[in-house]
Amino acid sequence: MTGTDALPAYNFAYLDEQTKRMIRRAILKAIAIPGYQVPFASREMPMPYGWGTGGVQVTASVLGPDDVLKVIDQGADDTTNAVSIRAFFAKVADVATTTKTTEATIIQTRHRIPETPLEAGQILVYQVPIPEPLRFLEPRETETRVMHGLEEYGLMHVKLYEDIAQHGHIATTYAYPVKVEDRYVMDPSPVPKFDNPKMHCSPALQLFGAGREKRIYALPPFTDVVSLDFEDHPFAIQRFEAHCALCDARNVYLDEVVTDDRGGRMFVCSDTDHCETRRTEGHRGTGLPQTEGGETASTSREAAE
């Protein structure tokens, strides 16, 4: 490859400038009305719907040559979707990419918010499959728009009621509905409810793009985001009893990994960057080979406690 000559005649970041202007206008409107779903003219992207076409369009519109991009899928930087979207922007925008949360200026995500707290100036872009939180209860788009307009959100609680009636507790674990600035009820994309509290008053700008449904919505920095609940069944995040088997982290979202066909399993951080950072800092979990002696593992655990 000999630089730009070998590339096809793409505009910077794939989308043409008029499209980016259109998407930026939608983003500005979304920021002005937190939680409101702004329609936009979603383009065909060189990837199928469901792979993050909405998120990619939002990222392409806010990306500048000096930005540093991180892409995560299920918390991991090394899964197919994350790798291919990162490679996509490295190719069509020639931007720097990273896996470090702290170094990134734009983070495109599917399913997770990084464990490392975000900072002012960072942008978190979510890929959203179904932006309408009321969709599964009310199939008519005309009706859901009126319900948003008139702030008729009783139906959302019908869903939570059903959860409690059937399971004894609110069993919704992802895409847990939130109320934004005491006005719009919003679907926070399929992030686990574990991450809902991280949205509340985050110093970073959070943008949500739904490509197939052609909607963009946003949470400006320091926006109130409250998870819906009942007075006698308050919102609670998932709790894990295990520590990460690799980095011994607690109070993080863990993935269960099956290790053999005899019931062996271990729990590891879903956020790979967080896990790696902790391991370079010297934290060692019980799942790592104990060649350096059990002493290291136990001391690091004591240090953590």
Partner: protein
């Protein structure tokens, strides 16, 4: 009893182009009164009911409703938010087909509780208790509270729909052939329940039916419609025992003697 009507309809008309679905309709509904609208299929009964209840736009005329604060506005002058709020708190609408009025995929308890949650009730225990009480009032076993209406019989669905509408203590209920799809014994049970609830709660009801027996059982006053016009109105017993308009005479004569 109040001396002012709760609902007042004046010169109501609904046209589809040149076709007149109903016209020149005027009547009042008083607090605690059950008014039956009867007539054959296609006589404009349901159109009339939909126009009154704001489910359909009328072509002309006025419909005024006495709000709880004593105002008596035309429903068209209310904002959509106010109309919808009215429709889910102060009013009820019982459909002929319960599937139209229920959420078939959520449990009976949630169906009854939906209106409570819509007006801001956020205490699960209280909502569930109220739902259980209402199921009992409409004679549905409390153990069915977590079952979905798809597993209910036709009569149970209709009773559930009634409970769902009454949970917010509305003042005015619209009913469109509430016993239409039910077999005779179930009909009798639903009618009995309705009569009891209406009397207990002092509800005002506008009920559309083609069944004169239902009208006689439930209503105090009756409006007979034919081809979109009111041909006769008056006390139910008077209309049925001493019909004046030839069409009403025909209707009454068509009831088999037994």
């Amino acid at each position: 009893m109040s001396t002012q009507p709760i609902l007042s309809i004046r010169d109501l008309a609904r046209r589809y182009g040149a076709f007149v679905a109903c016209a020149n309709i005027s009547f009042d509904v008083w607090p605690g009164e059950v008014v039956a609208i009867v007539g054959e299929s296609g006589s404009g009964k349901t159109t009339l009911l939909n126009c009154i209840s704001g489910r359909m736009e009328r072509s002309s005329g006025e419909v005024r409703y006495r709000m709880r604060d004593g105002r008596f506005p035309d429903l068209q002058d209310l904002s959509e938010a106010e109309r919808r709020f009215l429709a889910r708190t102060d009013w009820g609408f019982v459909h002929q087909n319960p599937a139209d009025g229920l959420r078939m995929r959520v449990s009976a308890g949630a169906n009854v509780g939906e209106r409570l949650m819509a007006i801001g009730d956020r205490h699960y225990g209280n909502i569930r208790q109220t739902a259980a009480d209402w199921l009992e009032r409409v004679e549905i076993a409390a153990m069915r509270i977590d079952d979905k209406p798809v597993s209910f019989s036709g009569g149970m669905r209709q009773r559930l729909q009634i409970a769902r509408n009454l949970v917010t203590h509305p003042r005015l209920i619209f009913m469109d052939e509430p016993t239409g799809g039910l077999d005779v014994s179930v009909q009798a049970r639903v009618l009995d329940l309705l009569r009891m609830l209406v009397a207990d709660l002092g509800l005002s009801v506008v009920i559309v039916t083609h069944d004169l027996a239902v009208a006689r059982l439930l209503s105090q006053r009756m409006i007979v419609m034919k081809s979109g016009h009111v041909v006769e109105q008056g006390l139910t017993d008077r209309v049925l025992d001493d019909p004046r308009h030839p069409y009403t005479q025909l209707l009454v004569a068509s009831i088999p003697e037994n």
